[in-house]
Symmetry: C2
Subunit: 362 residues, 2 copies
Amino acid sequence: MNHHLYALVMAGGIGSRLWPRSRRNRPKQFLDLLTSRTLLQQTVERIEPLIPLERLLVVVSEEHADLVCEQIPGLPAENVVVEPGPRGTAPCIGLAAVLLQARDPLAIMATFPADHRVADGAGFRQAIAAAAQISGDGHLVTLGITPDQPNTGYGYIQRGAPLGEVDGLTAFRVQRFTEKPDLPTAQRFVDSGEYYWNGGIFIWQVETILGEMANLLPLLHTELQAIAKNWDSSECQETLVEAWERVPRTTIDYGVMEKSSRVAVLPVDIGWDDVGNWATLSGLVDADTEGNVVRGDGQPLLLDTSDTYLYTTRDRLVSLVGLEGFVVVDTPNALLVCPKEKAQAVREVVKELREKGLDQYL
Amino acid sequence: MNHHLYALVMAGGIGSRLWPRSRRNRPKQFLDLLTSRTLLQQTVERIEPLIPLERLLVVVSEEHADLVCEQIPGLPAENVVVEPGPRGTAPCIGLAAVLLQARDPLAIMATFPADHRVADGAGFRQAIAAAAQISGDGHLVTLGITPDQPNTGYGYIQRGAPLGEVDGLTAFRVQRFTEKPDLPTAQRFVDSGEYYWNGGIFIWQVETILGEMANLLPLLHTELQAIAKNWDSSECQETLVEAWERVPRTTIDYGVMEKSSRVAVLPVDIGWDDVGNWATLSGLVDADTEGNVVRGDGQPLLLDTSDTYLYTTRDRLVSLVGLEGFVVVDTPNALLVCPKEKAQAVREVVKELREKGLDQYL
């Protein structure tokens, strides 16, 4: 066990494609979507055998900080970092990096979204440990998910020359990042065997990432220094909020990874999924012999129905007749009915609710 | 206006194919399914210009008698006849017939289901008046609905020789009744021009129908005489309940119309529909430019959705994404999702609820 290895779990997402279960007051990562544990709990429990809670930070918005404390009771209070507002992953990661650097200048940080699924926990931890070793040479390591289909919803990473092998895993230089390609391009990527999905899991020394931020996102780096300087002072909160107004809104992928020459990819095959929408979620849980998945506390009644995901709510009956390949999510005040192939469009519903000011359903 | 013409509105149906709006405590005929008026109210208002409420009986089960009084406030209390239990249309019609005979031995009664739709009210009344005249010759007159498609859910009536013309309408002897035929047969019937749908609207002298019951349903006739004899006595209720235990359970179609030689059909084209299921109901109300019909007090949000019927409930949002040709009925405690072409199967849901004892959803 590497005592300089820290974890950052980013719990700031909104998961709008999993509406109406994912809501403003309890987004996707705080829901028990796959098992009886929430995605955040599953994420932390997957990391914990490698990185104990003492060295695990969760960055979260103010309104969800209580949910983090409630769902991860063993997490030290100072490890819950409240972000003043969503500014993309680069400021979030930068904030965690300066805080960890203050604790341990030799810190290596592994960054994880709070809302993904990984089937092979042991393989996942083995990969993180290997990546931590590789990061010792000043690399920004990203896990490359071996694609099993030409998904157009993910970013793709093309590997370059091999960098070496650790524990049976080979890391590569990164040739190129490509954001969500069209289907023929995605198919070509998958067929080539040289491309991986960008799963948003990064491992690096805090020194390396902060150095790259100084080069590539100097404004952010300056603000982060100010925050770090005042972190233990009485002006901590004020400094953070003011700095957050000024930091550039950008993602770590766009702001650093796509531009840095220090990037490495470590290909893994760990049963990863971003639990992106109701259709993909439906494929991640056990179905009955008709291919139906039924969840929730309500009363289901399915006739002549197959390949369908149904969530029901206590004291309500949902009857589906003659459906094939559908998603039906019934919550106390909002219902979604959608064929699986339209599951990506659920984010448009959330957009419309926001535009129409129908806040009670957000 | 014929002062011997009386109306019987049969309000005992359950309308299970219109679940989950049609429920045990408020079946189809008591719901505002087509307009802001209920089907029962529409039925009565359609009849009233021809037959005033004083000469209009409603037969109903005990649990729904209050709904009748509430929805038809001008109806004299003695015109609400409570049936001890459902025994088919023959006992129901027989009961009304003996009660009317006691009031007026020359009574002509016109019998109407409470839950049908007629677009052309004036044409409907003209037909009833004509049928009343024809019934004077001892005919059991049934309105024959001119079919516009080979519907396999209705009974068909084949016309025989012409009986004569009244007010521009020609009545015919009946050659044959055929219960719900298969599709090729129904198509042949429609193509021939000799067949009509049996809409369950009958006109006859009470003397004629009771005479035919004496011939064809003698057990029923005997019980009806006993009921009539005691109707104004203190044993009225007891006699009725006991007699109702013994009367044969049968329909007027099977018990009388298919066997009698006095049957006549009066073809009409009055925009009739039995409002049988959600798909047919959907076709009877105005749709928006996408072919969607949205009803109810809730909040609808339709994206990329067409040819769909949606009913929503107060304080709930229903979002439909990418649906075509669906029925979605959201009530406070039960939801139905079904493609229109499976709308007939909704009765199976009700059957299952009954079998499973899920009474709160019935």
